[in-house]
Amino acid sequence: MPPQLKLNAVAFVSPQNHPILIRTFAQGQDELKYHYIAHTSLDVIDERIAAALASKSTDCYLNLLYTMEDVAVYGYITPLKVKIIIALALTDSVVRDADVITIFRALHTAYRQAVANPFLKVNAPIDGYNDHATLLQAGNSKWRAFRKRVDDIGKAVGAVGSAT
């Protein structure tokens, strides 16, 4: 039986390390914990990026970043340097990278579709047009479609894990 993955939290962080979106799916858990996880993961991601630069690797998937009590934190960096961090519930079994990469791909696609919305830039200040975070924050309150997509992925991960 393949391991049942449980997605506890997702974080999107801009290339300038601004948080774009932090969603938690675990019930009854502290949001603070996942904010902490997203924030601290940036340190590890920086280490991984430096290592990737040294080895000239262009892989988006940054592998397991670290484990923390009952979650395993994985990282992913898109070609445009948006960082995606997910926290999976920790299990005492092997988690296949392919599964994790599938989740990341889905999240990346959700983000891409959200950013492709041309109306996002309507109210954005001119000087900040390169930073995704300001883009997203500008429309943050109206930013339901993206959240919904991410939530759907979160649900799907649990469903797929148990179905197969």
């Binding site: 039986m1 300038q16 390390n17 601004h18 948080p19 932090i22 675990a26 009854g28 858990q29 502290d30 949001e31 603070l32 914990k33 904010h35 902490y36 924030h39 601290t40 940036l42 340190d43 590890v44 280490e47 290592a51 397991l64 670290y66 484990t67 923390m68 009590e69 009952d70 395993a72 519930a89 920790l90 299990t91 005492d92 079994s93 092997v94 200040p125 001119i126 000087d127 975070a133 924050q137 943050n140 309150s141």
Partner: protein
Amino acid sequence: MSAQRVTITYSGPIVFLSTDHWKQIQNSLVSQLPLRNLHWKSTSRNALRSIQELDVKLVPFEMLREDQAASQIPQSVLEKPLLHLYIFTCEDSEVYRTTVRKQLKEWHASVSTRKNQEWLIIHVVRPDQSVAQGRLFQMKTSVLDKVKADFNLDKKDRCVQLVWSAEKDNPAVWADTISKIKEGVLSSFDAALAQREEEVKRSEGQRQMPGWNFCTFFILKESVASSLEGMNLHEDALQQYYELESIFFQVLREKNLSWFGALITPMPTDDSSPLLSVTKKPYRDLILANTISVFDFRVYLLARQCILLSKIGDMEELCRKAASFLSTFSRTLRDVENTLPPFFIESWIYSSALSVVDQSDEWAKRLTLDKAALSAFNAAKGELLELARQQLDVLGIATGFLPNKPPFSLALPSTFDPADKDPKTKRGSMTITKTELLSSMEDQDTLYELYVNVTNRAIELYASAGRRKFALKLHGSLAALDIHRGRLVNALQTYTSLPAHYSPHGWTSMEAYMLNRALSIHEAAEKPKDREWIHVLLHFLRAYVDDGGKDLLLSEEDCKAYVEKLVAALKEAAQTLDNDTPFPDHPALSVSLVEPHAKLAESRDGALLQVVVNNRLPCDVPAEEVRLQLTGRENSQITFTAKVSSIAPGRTELTLFCPSSAMGTYALANTQISMPRLLFQWRHSKTPKQIKAGNMPTLVYIPKDARALDVRLKQPPLIELGTMSRIRVLLSTGRNEVATASVKLSAPSGIKFQYEDTQLIGEDTPAIRTDAQALTFLDLKAGQTVVAAVPHSDASAYAYMRINITVDYVTTTEPDITRTLRLSRVVATGLPVEINVQDFFRGTRLFTAFTLSTKTHQHVRVRSAQLLSDSETTGVRVKSCVGQKPGIVTLTPQQPGRFLFQMDSEKGTAREGLKLKITYRMLREEVESLIEIAVSEVVSEQLPLEPHRQDLTDKLIQALETNASWVELYGVTGELAVPGVTLTEDEFGAGLRQVMEKLNRKRSPTSFGEWRDIVIPVDVPQIHILASARLQILENPFSAEVEKAEKRTRPLYAGQPISALLTIKTSFHWAPPEDTRVQSYNMRYDIEDLTQDWLVSGRKRGDFVAKDGETFSTPVTLIALHHGELALPKVGVNALPLPGEHRMRSSVVPSCETYEVHGAEKVLVLPRGGRSTFVVNMGTNTSM
């Protein structure tokens, strides 16, 4: 299972082995060990493996215990020797054949039967012998050859000769032998390993068959691993363990764990023993006995892996593996938590994590790690320590020493139920054994100390690994502990410093959380709500209104009520501040413009501006005033304000009023919302760089208020050169009844204004007050315009004068508002015309010609030029030489105007105070005023056009500016035909048409508009001597001047002498008054020698004494050189220096002017007369 060493046996003739020689050889051989640089090409592995160094155990063949082979348990392949050596020395082949060979045969028989073991015969010879043996044509075969022939049964050469003596002991002599030994070792290792791996593969293939036992398989596979480890092939050994681990998980998934014991059978010290020790339990025996628990098995597997990792030197991987094992396996343990002693898991993780850190540090001492590896190692160790720290969180919460809330509760497993974890409940008799945990469960201070220690260790490691964010998080938890312990000051300090680390990258949720903590601590500590508190609070509110800032505020149920409370407290606290505190760019409030156009207040002076105040807080914000500042040209600033009591949440529209506004375009500079002692400020002005980037400033347009108080400056209508310049200040009150209005003028060019000498012009002048700084008008009525002439210092150096005007005025209706009007005006100071003067003296008369030309490209209309004299005082009578006034003269750059005047003066009287007065205006001004007259005429007829008044004027002026074709016609006729105006069909077009019709009518320029005057003082020129020279042709030398009136009758001929008389009349009429007493001057005349026309004989040059009114005459004779109409020679008359008078070291020459009376005269000279008779032969008279 400790690492095995490679074993090599040696043997030889007993006699030889007992010699000293052998001892020496043995020592030398041992010194060559360990073997270095082995290259193993395995049959089952692709890559060539290199073994840097291989330790070898050398044992006598006889000591080998044969019973080991009987053991059923698979051991490392190194358990058995890999190579057997037989060492002998024998110099004589006879001896060999008789004795040594037999012994060799025996040995060979015993070693060659062994599986997977190699053998090697070493023949030791002395160096001198080997030389002897190398001789050519040797009859006997050497001992070595014999040995080879006897024992080398297959192709492989297993005999080697060692040329060795105690004197010649160096590595070189061993090279051959050592390489043979390496070859042998590798070959037998390879064969043995291949065989063992084959077995493993076979066993793995049988996994699904009944009766297969994982433990047996494990032991078998592990033997491969330990064989590889014994050969120092750590990577390959580790690979075996990884394979074992994955097979374990596979088996685990297949739920085929029947041969294992329980998941865990906790032993008393399981929770506190070092994790990575493989000797703390007889693991192999447990495995062999099939009684090992999964717990022990996993621990053993991990420990083996970690040991190998430490040998490879990958410390980071080691720690990470341990940490992830601890977290993942503890999850499994949770399932059976009820069977374990209380806090077994926490204790196990805690002690294991710490022991891994200690153990890895121990191992790392042997290694030299580069910087990157070291920081990765530190980071991994930090994670382990954090893991240990989290166990303390759990313990603390369970024992009640720590509160069950974040951040302590973050470490709790999701299924945590505090009731389960009552430390008093005892399951069975066992307890945890980690002493420091036991004592910290008893005593909270011990726990805290432990907590702080472990956390600090982790922080230190994170810091050295460059993991700032991890360290921050731990700092946060330390601060939380401080709160719990009541050390509020420490906690406050941490919590107030932490937000700064989270805010720069927009982690407002974290920032808000930290600030929230800081605020609650502040309250709990009952510290005064001082400036610092206000700062923290404002930062909190900033984070609060940001997106995501509300995410983590769990401690307050009702955010609105909480914020409301804070804002109320803020207001109170702010009032206690001792001075105004600005707080820039707070996002909770914002002021923005509704539209860029300000409106006029209409009923009073000033402008209104609509703004929207946006309050993003959920409650009212107390405020006093909303203020908005605009910057205009030359940094002029105007301020709009509105008084408010509070700002409601959401958008609020406000109208701001500015009492003193001037028309123009302004940029939004800054906005401010103030509550007592606290100013929220926002800057809106843009730096040039921002503007370059396309970030334009917000503009505000303020319309002209026609009925507001206004000040204009004018050049005075009369400019009198030589007197103090005055500028006219026109103050019109508009709708205001002004109590006081003080006008200050300042010019950047440094011109000074002398307010004290201000003159008011016109009737009904108001009272004024003047001092050195300002001119103040008092009590002005509405609609009044007062004109004051303010003298100022010389400004003739500038063509234009820029003047900044500041008017502070108070109206009678609003006596408490002082309005300030700031204006900047430019006044032309230079004269538009240039004047040149030319004087011509004729006896007592003087003709003066003034030439007026424009200084600029503008046309100047001159209505009149008058030379004024007060004839009674000056004694000069002036008469204009232009009899008929031509009306208006237009000066253009091409065509200057000339004005000629004639003066008669009486001798000796004071001749001063002549003034030239020019009445003029610029063509542009004239046309503009003409248009304005026409427009106002039309507007008065058609009142609906009133709002278009300015537009009409502007349109026409613009049309005139673009095309100059109207100028000529206007100059001649006064009709203004405006070219190139397209008329629209509406009311405006009709109005325009009417105006143009009016303009097209003839109008005398003198009939309208204002003219300006310039009065220029002109001095009557003075001259000491006025000489008039005359050269007269005489009838004959003797006819004196008596006949001069007579008409000359005799013609003049070229070449004949002509008598002439030079008369010079001198007059002292125009002499300066101070020199009138002088009776005579010495003078000299000079007749110019025109060598082309005239020969002059007689006194061409001579001196004479000139007296007033007297005439000097001298005769000369002229000879005309050719015939024709000739002008008479010119005569120059000069004054000689005054004798004896010197001024400034040069002689004084009286001024003198000469005019030649005969200057225009010409005489007709005929060709020389005479008659010539020519006799022409008429030919012979044929009749004769």
